[in-house]
Point group: C2
Chain length 328, copies 2
């Protein structure tokens, strides 16, 4: 089922300890769409300037992403530049130029209006509301946001969150919006606004799903990030997590609690590929087989009853190691 996504398409300049890129393909809408297009058809709504490289448009088209809703206007594309420290934690924003994005008003093409899945990536919540008013009742609506709107447009964001089925925020945003110190208290405050579910992105700690339920285990699903030996560039991890999650939901149509939990895991897997390259590089040649293989390994990393891992005694060690202080 088709997924419509609204958000930023950007030219990113990123520095990490592993290297740097200038004016590479970026933006929440782009990352989301690239990830979701691994699973199903994607329709983008956004804006770029005439400076936007044709090769980037070609890349999106090559993934069968519908660009009918991508406005190409005279002027400059939204650009962002940032630098990550050694631990790849908080990013330092060096420069943000909204350019054409500052006057952006999303226009949903007629051909998009009946998209069954809608993702409102992180943009001004007033624009998110504008989009909601332009669509026929989708099967599933979701939104992401950020600290800037939590503090600057709280009322609009609150209204938008109350109107969607699924809110996707990171841990810091949940605590900031709710003014709570414990994550689950903050999560409950957001669920009280009306959405049926909240997904909390926790970076290298993984993610959490909060739904209505009677016990802690029915209410909260907690799942770790896939452990990677190294991270090249964390940019886009959260948006591709959301893209993988929504893509899986759209492809399977499974909106059961179990299906939603698996969707978080697929989001986790896609995000783990994203951070192994700059921009969307690591997603470009990725296949569903690659995703399935890592999903199997992730099951092995997380499941225990039953465990899908190969059997074996962990005490078996190389010969000669099994000595004791008392016997040597």
């Amino acid at each position: 089922m088709a997924i419509m996504v609204v958000g930023s398409v950007a030219l990113d300049s990123v520095q990490t300890p592993h290297g740097s890129r200038e004016a590479s393909l970026g933006g929440a809408c782009t990352y989301f769409a690239t990830a979701a297009s691994l699973f199903d058809r994607v329709r983008m709504v956004g804006v770029v300037g005439t400076d936007f490289p044709e090769q980037y448009l070609d890349l999106l088209r090559s993934r069968d992403i519908d660009l009918a809703g991508l406005q190409i206007l005279p002027g400059e594309t939204f650009s962002w530049s940032g630098r990550y420290g050694v631990d790849m934690g908080d990013v330092e924003t060096l420069d943000t130029r909204l350019n054409l994005f500052s006057d952006f008003h999303p226009v949903v093409p007629e051909s998009y209006r009946e998209s069954p899945f809608l993702f409102l990536a992180n943009i001004d919540p007033d624009l998110q509301l504008e989009v909601l008013s332009q669509v026929e009742r989708p099967r599933l609506t979701a939104l992401d946001s950020m600290d800037f709107w939590i503090t600057g447009k709280r009322a609009s964001l609150t209204r938008a969150m109350s109107l969607v089925d699924l809110v996707v925020l990171n841990e810091t945003e949940v605590l900031m919006y709710s003014s709570r110190s414990r994550l689950i208290d903050g999560a409950e405050a957001i669920l009280d606004l009306g959405p049926a579910a909240l997904v909390i992105k926790r970076g290298s700690e993984g993610s959490m799903l909060v739904t209505r339920g009677n016990s802690i285990g029915e209410r909260y699903f907690v799942t770790p990030a896939y452990l990677l030996p190294a991270v090249t560039d964390p940019t886009g991890a959260g948006d591709t997590f959301a893209g993988g999650m929504m893509g899986y939901l759209a492809r399977t149509g499974d909106l059961s609690v179990s299906g939603m939990r698996r969707a978080l895991v697929y989001g986790t897997i896609v995000a783990s590929f994203t951070v192994q390259g700059f921009s969307v590089d690591a997603l470009r040649n990725l296949t569903l087989d690659d995703i399935a293989a890592r999903y199997r390994d992730y099951r092995c990393m997380t499941l225990y009853d039953p465990s899908p891992c190969p059997a074996g005694d962990w005490l078996e060690r190389p010969l000669g190691r099994n000595t004791r202080a008392g016997t040597n």
Copy 2:
């Protein structure tokens, strides 16, 4: 199968935002033994003074914990006092009095020598080595340690870690010992010393098991903490985690990788009860049925393929909520 544990038995004075306790039953050995005794027979090796309340000895005896190795000497029992802040994160130690513990040398009673499971709780690694020299080859040996020994007795600790089957440390200790910034790099450095497995305790983030394996999923098992609405006192969480884990291993005798992963989960469950009360209060009347019930809920909180949770569509919401901006 019997589990022998060596470590501190203490009188703790603890302040948390939820209240305080004076001279309550504490110490790593005590916490571990109380937790492990939920699953199997436990034998303690430690020391207390003649000031140690008889009622605390009675409590341990009531759990069929063998106290033949608990020295009761003239003098004062090891005491510790600490204070937790609002977020229950790092504890501030207010006072530590080693008292009799400063001259402690563990003596393993003849009746303990063939204990198949041995846990060396956090004590001087030279004493851990002394214990290893006093036992017949156990089926499984494990040790815990702390920052104090990592910096102060590194060589002895390194030797002790190379001699046991299982090392149990918290995240900070792994990074400190290994001088690495990434947890999995630190974990590999410790596994290279010789132990067959490393368990990393991560507090409210859960725990991780590192064993030898060919893929990330075979090598690392990552599992979250059980989410609690409130924590009363975090003291003893790590030791009861280890106690639950070792207790489960001893009870089942299952040293497969799968069994070891479930053991971490049982440790997680026991620790989640521990922190809901001061001292060992929450463990006193706990039964295996209580543990099994929370284990079932934890499975629901963490498993996804298949999911053991009740079926149902998470989009189902109370009537009247399902409005959209465009339709109201």
